[in-house]
């Protein structure tokens, strides 16, 4: 059967070339496989291939920020190991292990076993250490639990300055968590056309995060407990025919949180305790169907996908308040019936009526239909004050996108593309029911010579909003200024320009330059964000300096500027005209140099060096018509500098010695933290955290064993 199909394809090929041949002649077009012995092909033989290494690292200083994601937060010596090994047996069976950072809290390991083309089982383990902060201090006991208590003898007060027992009770606090993932996957290839895939992942997140608790007029920083577990299941059946394919899949997500609430003592005068809800358990099921059909005419492909899902959340509700002085009201229901149905559909037609022209039309539909119940809630504000009853809004969204694209290759030198996109966004219970946006774009690629490529892209979009309306049931005192236009719903004009030049004067070097400018204008917004500009320029060059020595240098600058207008008033409702404004200017500069010099000393020594610098600044100026021009905020700053030197000495084809040094320094100025101690803010009790500046050196000494064939030695 296979041979017949092959023959048919060959016939098609030859007929397409304008000729006709006898079946016998056609058969001769196939190679004589007896001559195709592949005697010189160095196929992997049974046994172990790959490499494994072990190392010792010495970290000079303790730093939560440096250890964030890396696990190198403590100073001292770390043992580490990694491996990339494959063990093969006769018949194509293999077991592979890929392990990294085994000695660190960022360890990950993946074990794969199977027979390629038949089945594969995949086991994985991955740890992600978050080291959020180690500079804080707190007076609370019960850290990590869902009950935070004040120490005995705590003296409450109206202000933080009244906390006479504060200094005596402050203890060091660390915030952070460990995210750990275990995975099991299976792929079975039943036939050339049909295969099955199934993946299960269990992810846990345990530790302490930052949150804030408050009572009317006072607040405190708190450590919230994190004990999450999420199971995810992905399963699919895939069938690939000659001109079509289809995938039928299921995705499930099951989240559980051991802590439904956090209860804490009030350090200030007022209610004794407060309680806030933690994230409730939730479930998500989604069925998926997608596929593609390729027509013989004009190289046309039709892609389609449809996914229908349901998100559910039915956790038991907390009471309105834990304040016994407020008469408890009955809840409208004990368990919330949270449910949102989701629908995502996509239809795309792509065709090449002529070889140089690509046409594409696409329609996308996405809906979140919130079917949760709506009830009257007798809310108690901050465990302090019984307020009016409110009905919870249930937000639903419907997005519809239609796009048309044409790409034409005039020649190898010139290629152009253009497109149009209509985006419709519909919402309910919000100020704007519907946005309609039209986006036009064009792109030109010009290659005047083999060594130079230029690319230009321009885009212009206009988003219109339906009438801006007040949201009903907001509550007295909470009405927005009628001149406000929320930027993600407001009328907007967006223009974008991108220019890129790639120059490769010779095989020994290349230079790439890129510029991008994006401008958002909200001209109909009297209050709110009225403009946001972004531009970026970047350059990267690579040059082969000498023999195998290659140097790469790069630079980039990002600018983010925005302008917002406010309308301040203490009169309810706020109908004040615009009377203040804020200008924000953020900068981000990156520069670096990397040197790679392999094969020194007769191929025994590989050297690599990197230097990198990333600086940010953030300036915020307030233009205050009420009280004259206020002094601007101090500049927000961060500076990150990193240097890395790595040397690998190949003692022989099997063994190599690894030496490394990494230095990284970070410093920041942040007015939200600088000078803020636990009692600096009169009506807050904080952790008094600082910007996490660090200056860390890491030295590495290790060896690596390479499993090579004997003949390679």
């Amino acid at each position: 059967m296979n041979g017949n199909r092959t023959l048919k394809v060959i016939v098609a090929a030859l007929l397409g070339a304008g000729g006709a041949a006898s079946p016998a002649a056609l058969a001769q077009q196939m190679p004589d496989f007896e001559q195709w012995a592949c005697r010189f092909c160095p196929f992997s033989e049974p046994g172990v291939t790959g490499d494994a290494g072990a190392s010792v690292l010495n970290v000079s200083d303790e730093s939560a920020r440096f250890g964030d994601y890396t696990g190198l937060d403590e100073d001292g010596v770390y043992g580490n190991a990694d491996a990339d090994l494959t063990y093969r047996t006769e018949g194509g069976y293999a077991v592979a292990v890929d392990a990294r950072n085994l000695g660190l809290d960022s360890r990950e390991i993946e074990l794969r076993a199977g027979r390629q083309g038949h089945w594969v089982v995949d086991l994985s383990w991955d740890e992600l250490p978050r080291r959020l902060d180690d500079s804080g201090r707190t007076v609370y006991d019960g850290l990590g639990s869902n009950r935070l208590t004040l120490p005995g003898g705590w003296v409450r007060g109206n202000f933080a300055s009244d906390f006479t027992a504060l200094d005596a009770n402050l203890r060091d606090l660390t915030l952070g968590w460990d995210r750990r993932s275990a995975g099991l996957g299976l792929e079975v290839v039943q036939s050339e056309r049909l295969r099955y895939e199934a993946d299960w992942t269990r992810q846990t997140k345990r530790g302490r995060g930052l949150t804030w608790g408050n009572f009317l007029g006072v607040a405190q920083e708190l450590a919230r407990p994190l004990d999450y577990q999420t199971d995810e299941v992905d399963a699919a059946l895939v069938y690939a025919g000659t001109s079509w394919n289809v995938r039928v899949g299921y995705y499930g997500s099951f989240f559980s949180n051991k802590d439904t609430a956090l209860t804490w003592d009030n350090p200030f005068n007022g209610p004794d305790q407060g309680r806030m809800a933690m994230s409730p358990d939730n479930r998500h099921h989604q069925g998926q169907l997608s596929g593609a059909y390729r027509f013989a005419t004009w190289d046309t492909t039709l892609n389609a996908s449809y996914a229908r899902g349901r998100m559910e959340q039915t956790d038991t509700l907390l009471q309105y308040t834990v304040n016994p002085s407020i008469m408890a009201q009955p809840l409208p229901l004990d368990e919330f019936d949270g449910r949102a149905d989701t629908t995502h559909a996509n239809l795309r037609l792509t065709s090449r009526p002529v070889e140089r022209l690509l046409l594409s039309a696409e329609y996308r539909y996405s809906e979140r239909d919130n079917e949760s119940g709506q009830y009257d809630w007798a809310t108690v504000q901050a465990d302090s004050l019984q307020t009016l009853s409110f009905v919870n809004p249930v937000y639903s969204f419907e997005n519809r996108d239609l796009s048309l694209t044409a790409d034409y290759r005039f020649s190898r030198m010139l290629q152009g593309a253009a497109g149009w996109q209509r985006k419709v966004r519909e919402r309910d219970y919000q100020n704007v029911d519907r946005n309609d946006e039209d986006v036009y774009w064009g792109r030109l690629r010009f290659r005047p010579m083999e060594q130079l490529s230029l690319s230009f892209r321009g885009e212009s979009g206009t988003r219109d909003a339906t009438d801006y309306q007040a949201i009903p049931g907001t509550g007295a005192g909470a009405e927005q200024n009628p001149l406000l236009r929320k930027y993600y719903q407001a009328d907007r004009d967006r223009d974008l320009v991108q220019v890129q030049a790639d120059f490769t004067p010779a095989a020994r070097g290349s230079l790439s330059l890129r510029y991008e400018n994006a401008r958002d204008r909200y001209d109909e917004s009297a209050v709110g964000l009225v403009s946001a500009d972004y531009d970026q320029i970047s350059a990267e060059g690579t040059v082969q300096v000498w023999k195998s020595l290659v140097m790469t240098a790069y630079f980039s600058r990002d600018n983010y500027d925005s302008f917002a207008v406010g309308a301040a008033s203490f009169v309810t409702p706020n109908t004040a005209p615009p009377n203040w404004a804020a200008r924000t200017e953020d900068r981000h500069d990156v520069q670096g140099v990397a040197l790679n010099w392999p094969g020194l000393v007769d191929g025994k020594l590989d050297l690599r060096a990197d230097w990198m610098r990333a600086d940010t600044t953030g300036d915020i100026g307030i233009l205050n018509a009420l009280a004259g021009a206020a002094s601007p905020f101090p500049t927000l700053k961060s500076e990150l500098t990193g240097t890395e030197l790595v040397a690998d000495w190949h003692l022989n084809p099997r063994w190599s010695l690894n030496l490394g040094w990494r230095w990284e320094k970070y410093s920041a100025d942040d007015w939200a933290k600088d000078g803020v101690g636990p009692a600096t803010i009169g009506n807050m009790l904080t952790f008094g955290t600082e910007t996490l500046d660090y200056d860390v050196n890491v030295f590495l000494l290790g060896f690596r064993y390479n499993f090579v064939r004997e003949e390679a030695e």
Partner: protein, 310 residues
Amino acid sequence: MLLRTSFVSCALALLGMAGAAQAADEEASFSRRGADQCIGCHSDWDPPLMGIFQTPHGNPHDARSPFGEQQLQCEACHGPGGAHTGRVPRGEPRPPIINFGSDAWTPVPQQNAMCLDCHQGHVGEQWAGSTHDINTVACADCHSLHPPSDPMLSKDSQPAACYSCHANVKSDFLKPSAHPVRQGKLACTDCHQPHGSNNEGLLVRSNLNETCYSCHTEKRGPLVWEHAPVVEDCSICHDPHGAVHPAMLTRRAPLLCQSCHTPSGHPSVPYGSGDLAGGAASPFVLSGSCLNCHTQVHGSNHPSGKALMR
């Protein structure tokens, strides 16, 4: 088998370009000895080619592999090499074979068609008309088939391939608040599906929020009291590639919040440097700013959580 079909389809496309039956006949012929003949000249090629025998493409035990039984070996991807390996008249250039990458003489659509003929059901399901297809990205722009391991498949080395076009994203991950791509703990493909998907940004799940929920599941809900922009689109407040401000926020609180909240009293009032630690030490600016009280900014499941304070 699939590979044989694949190569012939591509040959068909190339023959169509050539337009001459005779040339087509020549191009359609295979080399006499297959890979052995290729290795004779290319075994010491730079960059090295022989690493492919340690990869899935060089596995003789997989019938789908180019080196599976009675498959077309090198010519499965590079097309019939009869003319290329044959005798070349003096002074004439050696006829080329199909080659790969943006600088290759073979047009990118034909290159990709060659790959997709085998990988259609694996990665090509949503390729046609996808962003990378429209932008004429070649499979070989990202993937390297001849080294023992494809850098694109490693979390450490994958971002570099993406940065070659998405240079702006490279700097994003060096911002003070960013996902851990720089640390090698997250790859671009953890969030993006570069082979095409049915949503903007080539995301792996059905839309942006559902992609974020894969790791930030606790925010999925639905909750009793939702914050409308949170359930609409995470990127209204966050830049997922990295930001100058904490928590990957696009702007600093309270200004970010004040862009949408203007009730009378404290939400509508401008704050300045006089509110910092050396001055009034205002809780509306310091520590968590608005979050000091409205701590449940992603929504609350508390019956009293309307103002996102519980």
